[in-house]
Symmetry: C2
Subunit: 356 residues, 2 copies
């Protein structure tokens, strides 16, 4: 069992990573302060892990909510089902919400915890690779609005993140690979050694080798925790975590949520960011090829679907980082070093969009 | 023009109190940082002040939303109308929301500002006495759930509170008097000299004399600002602001929201808290009589409607401060000094509920 700390002053919390945490009462117990717990999961994950988790939570009041699965349900309406359950069972300010599932369950449960009686405790138990290495860490919570992803939300840090890598053995292959996109991202934005490690160990990761998984997840969480510690509310540095995301959100919006998985869109977006970085002369052709090769090896797309460049640009401009004006992008100064910039020149961006 | 400061470190902000602020562009301008403003009001207030306010806000993008009036509309559905408007007009993270109206408009607009893109700036321009002396100051924002008042919300401090006492001249008499309940509350919980001042100046206040109003509003805001500064997130002291509110919420719930105004229910609740405090031997019969006399003079109710004591107790227990167990009450140790306690003895509480 490995423990990392997300250092945020009085809002600091641990990330506990292990192989059978969902079966260990003693790991979870210290993070449940009151007498009440609401366990939130979805239709896919609940049949797999809800029962065992219920059996290890020892509080007088334990209630459960099972949400429908899928990004299209990450709405205010679904959020309200959590409030309904909390109030039906008279949960008070000392209650703890536990999110058991992927990114959608984590984001929506975290946002419910941020708002219920103006803020209660919550615990993240992410069960997908994407949630384990990315969305469960850092306190970003949200639901979608029909006009935009994650438009309604809060910064609300959990009491802890419990990562049981065994849950990944049941994850469908496509979702697993989508999670690898975010793992690759950490190497690209901040740690070239980790990028090299991924080049060397992608085969083991694709085989879901436990040793490789433990290392990749712990290292990804460590890098994310460091960035979040330095910039909790994304006033600057934290935005580098969005490498590939502005391109990716445009793809997701164009294709309709759920057609492309988030990680797939980010993978293509990272390759596009690498292409633009190369056109700017920041990274070499060889570096760009390494990025593309690793994404290919992970079984992820390297180009966007067929979208006219002008249309693509318009879609990028409605991404929330850019609603008011120029599109700021996360690009690569070199492998392992991302920068946030709007100084890329629109011709070069159009060239990337056209070449794609 | 008087300026008070709510001292909350980097979240500090001023309360500006004057007689024609809604007509003064220079007062408002420094608190609008970006190029976009969404002005939120309701059907009652918008026809009175929206146009003049629009004329003094000089930003490239100014949009408006007019909500239905009334506590029954303080819901997630109404909240979503604000998000719809923000997204329809492509407001970004630098937008400023302005709440123009009473407590409902302020609470719901503040909560929208807390959640939109995980938090944007907002300005409070309260137009009712209750909102000016109480709900606009302190950063509590919320909407109601069918099962409970203010159950879904956030702590989110405004950039400033602009109080134009001229707006009170158009306020219906019943709403004006309801606001006086919260003014009286400040004297009772923390400042006996202010209580004495109110005894001496209630006639002027009822006549809406501008000098008396300025003093009463500024002093109330000063007292609230001090309490909020010491305990922003209500971990202790701040709860004394709930004097009369646990009794009052029980009345509001029993009668149905809107039948009794919030301030009316709080007025009766303060008299009940005074009654219980007297039964405990903390305040004298004469002190209790002074509380009742001032509430009577303000034209407010001193007793609850006819509710069986057992029923009343059950209603108090579902108030959110008590969902999990014992009912903690704010009582009077003496005039000008409130305490939060569950050490009152259930017999004495039942005696108060029966005598009422």
């Amino acid at each position: 069992m490995n423990v990392l700390n997300v250092d945020l002053g009085e809002r600091s919390y641990p990330i506990v990573i292990g192989c059978s945490l969902t079966q260990s009462a003693s790991t979870l117990a210290p993070f449940i302060k009151g007498d009440q717990v609401l366990l939130v999961s979805n239709e896919t994950v609940a049949p797999l892990y809800m029962e065992v988790l219920e059996s290890i939570i020892n509080v007088p009041v334990l209630n459960t909510v099972v949400l429908p699965d899928g990004e299209q349900h990450k709405t205010l309406e679904t959020l309200n089902r959590i409030f309904d359950a909390l109030l039906e069972h008279r949960h008070d300010r000392s209650t703890t919400l536990i999110a058991l599932g992927g990114g959608v369950v984590g984001d929506i449960t975290g946002f419910a915890a941020a708002c219920y009686q103006r803020g209660v405790n919550f615990v993240q138990i992410p069960t997908t690779l994407l949630a384990q290495v990315d969305s469960s860490v850092g306190g970003k919570t949200a639901v979608n609005h029909p006009s935009g992803k994650n438009m309604i939300g809060a910064f609300h840090q959990p009491q802890c993140v419990l990562i049981d890598i065994e849950t990944l053995q049941s994850l469908p292959d496509r979702e697993y690979r989508a999670g690898l996109a975010e793992v690759i991202k950490y190497g690209l934005i901040t740690d070239v050694d980790f990028f090299v490690w991924l080049e060397e160990h992608m085969t083991s990761l694709l085989a879901r080798d436990r040793g490789a998984l433990l290392y990749a997840i712990e290292h990804s969480c460590r890098l994310k925790a460091r960035i979040v510690s330095e910039d909790e509310r994304e006033s600057g540095l934290r935005a580098i975590l969005n490498l590939g995301h502005t391109f990716g959100h445009a793809i997701e919006t164009h294709e309709g949520y759920g057609e492309w998985l988030h990680g797939e869109a980010v993978a293509a977006g990272m390759c596009m960011a690498a292409d633009l970085s190369r056109r700017l002369g920041w990274i070499s052709m060889a570096d760009q090829a390494r990025v593309v090769a690793l994404v290919v090896e992970a079984g992820l797309p390297t180009t966007s679907p067929d979208i006219a460049p002008e249309k693509f640009l318009a879609l990028m401009a409605v991404d929330k980082k850019a609603l008011g004006g120029e599109v700021r992008l996360v690009l690569l100064e070199r492998l392992g070093k991302a920068v946030i910039t709007s100084e890329y020149g629109s011709e070069k961006l159009m060239a990337t969009l056209s070449a794609n």
